[in-house]
Symmetry: C2
Subunit: 506 residues, 2 copies
């Protein structure tokens, strides 16, 4: 696809560079070895260590592509968290004698790779990929107990045997896992209502250094929610091993349309009207003219709203009709379509293909980055202009050319989640500096204008500086204390969300 | 109403005993006095201290009715939390030299009164009732910033000027406050979807001993949610002073019906079908035959389902029609009604009247208690039988007569919230022992059968022993650490949710 992409964008090489072969990788020697009693479950070969060294962020792919693996995990443990034992215990708590285990599914996604043990005697990756089963299905309550390492396709195939679906489809669906979704507070691709994993989790089981954290299966409860502290904890409080999640029958009724607006502002008004109507569309994605053109869904002049309703229980034509009426009040021209056809279909294909293109972009010398946020409606138009403007200025300064497009991925009654895609010509060897400058400019603008540094891509290491500004200081203090209590040796994903206690100001 | 009630129940005196007059109350002398610089804001007269000594639980009313006020707050501070200063600072942290401030609105509800300083040198009630304003309305994002002391009617009247409503109507609506709802993780009376305060909160401001906790206005974000740690924290982490909440236009379309089922089991199946249909009714309350009879809504033979749909945007007749179809599949016979008429209207009146009857029940010698929980559907029928059976056995043993009825207050796709009402003859002077025995039996059964000790009545002091069993131990440890970090002297609502650190096992 490289020639087509290069012609379309106007930059990037039509002849992608080759990948570095596994045989040519040179990793540092492991600093520590697996305990003898676990050795059958552990690997420290180049493939295991290299394939667990990085996530799938732009920087990770650039580093991996260049064969740069300065700090991979020392070994990888498969099926690492048993139902009864504690995770790898640490040595004494002095930083340089600790080993740090970090849970990983088959792959992570939009934020940079884990941190493999700087300041620690060693670093271990716990690969939960073998914990991949749907363990129990409760068809009456429509819930399922699923092991943390199950990938999207894996768990959906098992649920399909019962006619059920979790209906949680993040863009990373094929490679990411239930445990990862819970740990990162993932967002699915549905636009409204129950799309974030937060709302799908009924109870969670995690193994912490202080013991097993198992919440009851409860549809509701009082007191601060235990699950809501684990959801989004990004591996810092414990290793999530399984969860009960809410499932449902597959949709039997569907209706969709594409609406065209003459301006993004008019599209925002249409999207807001639908978000505040309580019609609860499954899809309601506002795509700016540039992104519509890039993905082949539009002509580059009109803003698109891809609209879809679905239900397992009842027809949804009336809901679509009302949504189209709300759009028409804002000047939107709707055209009903099948879910796979027309502009909506073109956009859908591009959406599904995007995660698979990142490697190609890197090989072509195309800098490809996304950043996403959330903001209340009354500031949304101005906010999007500021964030896009800041990113565009940085793109032009650092890359000399490029584009920043925007869509809304999730809608709420009180606001929306804008998602920006940056494509620009990368300079070989300078990709990471270019990326960092653009990331900094975009993130500064997002935080200054009142948004969140990330709505559903996790905080990780990339977003941490701005997350620290965003969150209330007393909450940071509470989280640091909770971490110190549950993981006193700071062995779990150190440096994520909070600084290790040893590094904390007195 | 006493003669009517007594005749209807078959117990209770038709001649209620008189209340103790304020002039006849004898309170212990205040142990501490207000600081001179705050004295204009403080009261230590009998009325102020007595009216802040108790909540509205059955035990509180019994104690108040008998004139027993052994440990009221030493003084009450009005408008106690400024926008800039810290709350009352403590003395040195040795338990007996601390004073403990506890935030209170005009009244609290279903769990027992705060604990006024046992082991502390003094206890202070912070009355936020003067912080009663809707401070800002964002009509575009449909959100409002509301001060914590605003009562339901107060904030609704102010929102109505903008054609908006918070649409959060707990049964205590008239006397409870926004800050109380957030602190206790309150449930509104709507049956599905956005009815808990959790889903209505956009951001929260709280004053903690460690500084101001102010979250951003964000429709969504990653990382563990700061708001979700404060929601339900019951005054232990900080004093909530205001919140941005999601508001909406008043409903313009309504449709309602009453459905009759021949058995509670059939009604459960009907309720579950609706809960899993994603029709999202505003009201869907399953009322057992006994409760229907007691409230004048039914004949005592049939189970009722009170069903209502509403929308500000679109007609809801089709949704009601589909819900009635789902009930018919389970043998339910539906009859459409206006929202105020027929059985649904009778039940609604009884629901609104209930909080005002508790004083009358106490004066009549009727033991009146409610307990509520949540459970997944697959266990619901058996669970309700066990909980009701345990409560009935305790009622018969302790009171010789009485009744335990049940309704479902909230429905979720994966479960329901059963709500039990106990009415029994009280023996003068033994009410609290009778109550404690029934509470113990019901709570033990609820926890043993897998439910939550409370879905929306807060943990408080009454539920704490069972809450400790229910929650994951590592979560309790995390909460205790967070509390110790934010409130190191343990001055805020000590003993609620977690034990003060001084009393914590090493």
């Amino acid at each position: 696809m490289a020639p087509t992409i290069a012609a379309h964008l106007g930059f990037g090489s039509p002849r992608p560079l080759p990948f570095v072969a596994l045989a040519d990788l040179h990793l540092p020697e492991p600093r520590i070895a697996a305990p003898a009693r676990l050795s059958a479950l552990c690997s420290d070969d180049v493939h295991a260590r290299a394939s667990h060294a990085y996530g799938k962020s732009y920087g990770d792919v650039v580093r991996g592509f260049s064969g740069s693996y300065p700090s991979p995990p020392d070994f990888v443990v498969h099926r690492a968290v048993s139902t009864t034992s504690r995770p790898c215990s640490s040595g004494p708590p002095a930083p340089r004698s600790r080993s740090s285990p970090t849970a990983a599914g088959p792959a992570s996604s939009a934020v940079s790779s884990p941190w493999w043990g700087v300041g620690y005697a060693g670093a271990v990756s716990l690969d939960l990929g073998a914990l991949d089963r749907v363990l129990e299905v409760d068809e009456v309550s429509r819930a399922a107990r699923i092991a943390a390492g199950a990938t999207g396709p894996g768990l959906e195939a098992q649920l399909a045997e019962h006619g059920l679906t979790l209906r949680h489809f993040p863009q990373s669906f094929e490679l990411s896992t239930l445990g990862g979704w819970v740990a990162t507070r993932a967002g699915g691709h549905f636009a409204t209502l129950w799309t974030h994993i937060d709302d799908l989790v009924e109870s969670v089981r995690a193994v912490t250094p202080a013991g097993v954290w198992q919440s009851r299966r409860l549809p509701g409860s009082a007191g601060p929610s235990p699950d809501r502290l684990l959801i989004g904890s990004e591996g810092t409080l414990g290793i999530i091993t399984e969860a009960w999640v809410r499932v449902r029958p597959r949709a039997a009724y569907r209706a969709g349309a594409t609406v065209r607006f003459g301006s993004f502002a008019a599209g925002l008004d249409g999207a807001r009207a639908i978000a505040q109507s309580e019609l609860h569309p499954a899809n309601c994605r506002l795509i700016d003219a540039l992104e519509a053109r890039t993905t082949g869904a539009g002509d580059g002049l009109q803003t698109l709203l891809v609209l879809g309703f679905e239900s397992a229980d009842h027809p949804v034509e009336a809901a679509l009709g009302r949504a189209l009426g709300l759009c028409a009040e804002q000047g939107g021209t709707g055209e009903r379509s099948g879910p796979r056809g027309g502009s909506a279909g073109a956009w859908r294909e591009a959406f599904l293909r995007a995660p698979h293109l990142r490697d190609t972009f890197v090989a072509m010398g195309v800098l490809s980055e996304t950043f996403e946020t959330a903001i209340t409606w009354e500031r949304a138009a101005d906010f999007i202009e500021r964030a896009r403007g800041a990113a565009e200025a940085a793109v032009l300064e650092r890359c000399g050319a490029g584009q920043v497009s925007c869509r809304l991925t999730h809608l709420y009654p009180d606001g929306a989640a804008p998602y920006f895609t940056v494509l620009a010509p990368a300079r070989p060897g300078e990709e990471l500096e270019q990326w960092a400058a653009i990331k900094q400019a975009a993130s500064d603008a997002v935080i200054a204008a009142g948004g969140t540094i990330t709505q559903h891509h996790a905080v990780g290491r990339d977003h941490r500086p701005w997350y620290d500004v965003q969150r209330p200081d007393p909450f940071a203090a509470a989280l640091r204390s909770a971490k110190a209590e549950l993981d006193p040796a700071a062995i779990l994903n150190p440096g994520v969300l909070v600084d290790p206690v040893a590094a904390r100001p007195a």
